[in-house]
């Protein structure tokens, strides 16, 4: 699958929630495609509670940011 983010550093640390490219603007900081953001801008989006980007799950000892990450996608209790 093609990486969503054009910046390899961003792609390594973050993932797109919707896999949908959009124009975004952070006043005074960034204006352009979501897919072209730097890791710093990705973190800013997370910090301002934007729902389009999230940090990838920790794999090689990286610390996962604290915060709500509850998704109701666990299998049903009856296993069906």
């Amino acid at each position: 699958m093609e990486p969503f983010f054009k910046n390899p550093e961003t792609e390594a640390k973050y993932e797109s929630v919707f896999m949908k490219d959009k124009d975004i603007t952070i006043p005074g900081q960034y204006s352009g495609k979501l897919s072209a953001i730097s890791p710093e801008i990705a973190q800013k989006l997370i910090d301002m509670e934007d729902n389009q980007v999230k940090a990838k799950a920790a794999t090689s000892g990286a610390v996962k940011p604290a915060g709500k990450d509850i998704k109701a996608d666990a299998p049903p209790a009856d296993g069906k």
Partner: protein, 181 residues
């Protein structure tokens, strides 16, 4: 004893903020029903905090703010005082001029007349981190008025003037503005 009011002195620092007149020639809007979450100012004791929104409004995958390209220099805002003395409030107004005329113009703009949307205008200073002004919130959205002028063959272009008014609900929005794909 600490001061019991929020008022503060305005000097050069305060009066030089967002001073250059005008806005970028776009109006942005999104119907309230399309948001995943609409944020509000966070409560705080600091002067200005009740007028600032610093966390991002969010949308589902296929939604976002829509921009309306406007005639250069046509986007502006003003605020006036309304109400009886002793019970006064600020009524905020924004306007912009959309050029052209078509069935698409008419259907979209006419639909705005009675829809509930949140509107943004963008300060002309792109380096300014406070550069979106938001009109309306989840509970009270601007009332939209539309005026079409066909002009004559020796005047100007056909144009729709959009004017929005809302009492009280003007905010400085500093978080992400996501546009509809």
């Amino acid at each position: 004893m600490a001061s019991v009011n929020l008022y503060k002195k305005f000097g050069k620092t305060e009066t030089s903020k967002n001073r250059d007149g005008g806005y970028k020639n776009i109006l942005l809007f999104a119907p309230v029903s399309t948001f995943t979450s609409i944020k509000v100012p966070t409560l705080s004791a600091a002067l200005g905090d009740t007028k600032k929104i610093v966390v991002a409004h969010t949308f589902p995958a296929d939604e976002g703010f829509m921009s309306l390209l406007s005639k250069l220099h046509s986007v502006t805002t003003k605020s006036t005082t309304v109400g009886d003395e002793g019970a006064q409030r600020l009524q905020h107004e924004f306007e912009g001029v959309i050029l052209g005329d078509s069935a698409l113009h008419l259907e979209q703009l006419e639909a705005q007349l009675n829809d509930n949307s949140i509107w943004l205008v963008k300060d002309q200073d792109c380096l300014n981190t406070d550069n979106y002004v938001q009109f309306g919130d989840e509970c009270l959205t601007p009332n939209i008025k539309l005026e079409f002028t066909g002009n004559t063959t020796k005047e100007g272009l056909k144009e729709y003037k959009i004017t929005g008014t809302v009492i009280g609900k003007k905010f400085f929005y500093t978080a992400t503005v996501t546009e509809k794909p």
